[in-house]
Symmetry: C2
Subunit: 524 residues, 2 copies
């Protein structure tokens, strides 16, 4: 198959741009032909094979090369789709929205520029993975903990920029971001916050600098290419106590979330804890066929068998306490008294768990910032290996939790999938993430998934729930639900886009933000 060309970019023009890219990075770092396949969406949803296909990729080694690449892309009008590590497979991987884009693959920029134990921060380039940073910290024996999301191979920077979350008290990654270096579409490099002061000593210590605090506009956006980012790291606590509390009934989620809200607000729940559904947890260490040979969602009797076998609940609340024993003891007393109100609640520490593998043993590592890929065992649950996340934000109330659960799980099962969901506990809201695992080789299942997903988005929006993040295939439709006052916010995004990137070369379509020349008519 010939590589696609972006709208308005001729084969000649693209060839000339690639030639210039080769001069910048060396010809071995411009990828075309078969090598572009690795930039395809690993879990495609659309059955239109022409979508989300890069024409080529270019891999710069340094900020200066990013600047040159951007200038060439601008000169030739070639859309550039920057990715940090491109490993966010449930959301499109490294694939661009506009077919014919050139992926700006920042994997080679993988320097850990600084890890500061005294202040608890790292300054990293886009290509640094959680594994890389973890190994570096361990190698130097520093008393610092990472906060890691499920994909340990992901980019520390990319995850924060995508508003990703982890499981320690530093679980809100963008909140822990401090200081950026950004290449703009005109090739200029900007440093934000205190980084804008030559010779400053607080770039990774103080977020706001002087004047507008701009870092946020480079998250989930296409306004610039972030080439360095500071991230705060947690000092190793003097004590650590992970726990698991299981609840036996579907409807318990209502009571559980009512208990969670004040505990989280009062910081008794200290970390970004999660409440996970039966199948999501069971899938860490088992496959569906071990329990049930049939098609469609598993019946109740099978659910009960899984609960008994794995010593888990219909919902499983997994968190951790951090600090010296007098403090964690006091917190645990409050926790235990609060959750004991749920009939059938069971409490576990790691020493109480005998089965292997076990979800608490597994998450005890995640909640202390050890990067892994174990969570993705759920891909083997039903086979077929594709997955996508539907991630609406919900108020932390029992009423919303059970309503969300019923809405989403009902539809998911109606379309023939198992419900695999978690509610990640934010400060005042839940990220209700439903993982839908599907057979990516089956066009009919893809079609069914697509219908389901679009329905979920619209039904959630009708009830006031919006997604915080999504697969490239749904960026337009989700952006479309943030339409208050005749799409005023999207229009403002477009105004900023046109000002910072008048040629519209950076990641057109990202988060529903299109450059002027692609705003009407055929977009992709």
């Amino acid at each position: 198959m010939a590589e696609p060309l972006a709208p308005g970019v001729s084969a000649d023009r693209m060839a000339n741009a690639l030639e210039r890219f080769r001069k910048i990075v060396g010809s071995e770092w411009v990828f075309t032909g078969e090598k572009v396949v690795s930039y395809h969406d690993p879990y495609p949803i659309s059955n239109d094979d022409t979508r989300y296909k890069a024409h080529a990729a270019v891999a710069p080694a340094a900020t200066e090369q990013v600047q040159e690449i951007v200038k060439v892309a601008s000169e030739f009008g070639v859309p550039l789709w920057p990715v940090s590590r491109g490993k966010n497979f449930a959301y499109g991987g490294a694939a661009p929205i506009v077919s014919g884009s050139v992926v700006g693959d920042l994997n080679r920029m993988n320097r850990i520029l600084e890890v500061n134990e005294k202040f608890g921060y790292a300054l990293v380039e886009p290509g640094v993975s959680y594994f890389d940073l973890y190994d570096h910290i361990r190698g130097r024996g520093l008393k610092l903990w990472l906060d890691v999301p499920d994909p340990g191979w992901g980019s520390v920077m990319g995850n924060a920029l995508d508003h990703g979350v982890g499981y320690t008290p530093y679980g809100d990654h963008f909140m822990m971001q401090c200081g950026m270096e950004v290449v703009l579409a005109n090739g200029e490099v900007v440093r934000t916050g205190m980084g804008a002061m030559p010779g400053n000593n607080t770039w990774q210590l103080f977020k706001y600098g002087f004047g507008p605090y701009v870092d946020g506009i480079f998250s989930q956006s296409n306004f610039g290419i972030v080439t360095k980012m500071g991230i705060w790291l947690m000092p190793e606590p003097t004590g650590y106590r992970p726990y698991l509390i299981t609840f036996p009934r579907e409807e318990d989620i209502e009571q559980v979330v009512e208990i969670v809200r004040p505990l989280r607000l009062n910081n008794v729940i200290q970390n970004a804890a999660t409440i996970r559904s039966l199948v999501l947890d069971a899938a860490i260490s088992a496959t569906r066929s071990q329990y049930y040979p049939g098609d469609g969602p598993i019946p109740d009797s099978v659910a009960k068998a899984i609960m008994a076998d794995q010593e888990i609940g219909m919902w499983n609340f997994c968190g951790a306490l951090y600090g010296p024993p007098p403090i964690t003891d006091a917190l645990w007393t409050v926790m235990r008294d609060s959750f004991a109100k749920v009939p059938g609640a069971k409490f576990y520490f790691p020493e109480d768990r005998k089965r292997r593998p076990d979800i608490l043993i597994h998450r005890a590592e995640t909640m202390k910032g050890i990067p892994k890929l174990t969570e993705f065992n759920f891909l083997n649950w039903a086979g077929g290996g594709g997955h996508v996340g539907f991630s609406p934000v919900s108020p932390t109330t029992g009423e919303d939790a059970i309503k969300q659960y019923r809405m989403v799980s009902g539809r998911v099962r109606e379309y023939g999938f198992d419900y695999m969901g978690l509610m990640a506990v934010g400060f005042r809201e839940l990220h209700h993430v439903t993982v839908i695992v599907y057979d990516r080789t089956d066009p009919k299942q893809r079609q069914r998934l697509d219908e389901l997903f679009n329905r979920l988005v619209q039904e959630a929006a009708a009830e006031g729930y919006g997604e915080y993040r999504t697969h490239i295939h749904y960026m337009d439709s989700i952006a479309g639900t943030y339409s208050w006052n005749d799409n005023a916010l999207i229009k403002m995004h477009q105004t900023i886009k046109d000002a910072l990137d008048p040629k519209g070369i950076l990641a057109p379509g990202k988060s529903g933000i299109w450059p002027r020349h692609m705003r009407h008519g055929d977009k992709a």
Copy 2:
């Protein structure tokens, strides 16, 4: 004196614009002539009386009127200087940078739209003061605490937008901001975050929404007029234990800050605590003449007399513990053991303080979010009543603290003022705020202050320290110190400014951001 006119705005044009403003808000809400005096800088520094003088003020009652006003200002090219409450007297009050601007006085928009106890937040308009919100919460008996800065009459919104800080665990006000409504220069209204979803239920619960997180660009900027803002409020803790630790020697600041850093990073210091200098604390309850009749900085012997009389130290660390006794007891043990290493350190709880008024008794209220104006007693220290804050950001190290202290206090004393400083403990940095009290009626002292301040800015920048906030008179010079890569960040601000406000009517010059037509030549 005739009211000044902004560059390029004729008297006729201004008169027409005012006439239109009167039609929008009612003629009683457009202020001219003598009534404009209340919008002057209460503590002017410049001896050029033509500077920072508004032509008029217009006070809208609702977002819709703000939209109409902005459209008229745009049509007539009249610069509009929006203020929330305009009570930030050390930074210029309500005065505009460009003389002849019309102040957009948002005091009338003082509705508390919602206070939610369950989730701990308020949604407020710009005119809501800390006193207003506190009274509302008390009146309804809600178990929520505010976080208040020193000026209790200030705007809850305005303070957060200016990156202000308070003294509870919620001390970083912008970090606690969640969701905005903003009127753009074109008259459009935007809601940010989840507010962009019609019928949403998480506008004040989740910050990021979908796509770029834009709220920060409306802080310390002139990109829009914020008309509603969400602010997170702290649930009333189950216990509260304020404390004061005094240190006898100037040079103790080095050791104290080295102790503070790990305690803050590990959340043993739970709040935005402060380390205050002798005179700043003494001035809460005394005047200079009680201790010393002479001119110039007070001598050492007098400092010792003040310490003995008020039972305070050369430095005074004031913080609080929040939570149930088992937790605060454990934290206090760590605190006490840590600070006992400083020779001569003394530890106090409120019951240990007998003198009245007393700084711990006073701050015990501030650190639980009771708004006051007591802190400004320092204005009476030497008389003359003017004050300005010099506020560089410093890494939390002993080395930086003592270097900062020596640099700033040395210069301040060299210019004949007493050093009144505090180091506010952020997560990883100190706000080193030096209050300089001067006689605002004395042109020579103003001149001296101005020379001092400019020197402080330049000397701080040469060592890598940048200010986080400033008086309108110093916005250009401080913005000029954030000049990395040929002023790349400022240029980006200008690009965004020109896109969002092409006529350049909103707060020209704020934070050093000028619209295109004022960027060269005479600015004010």
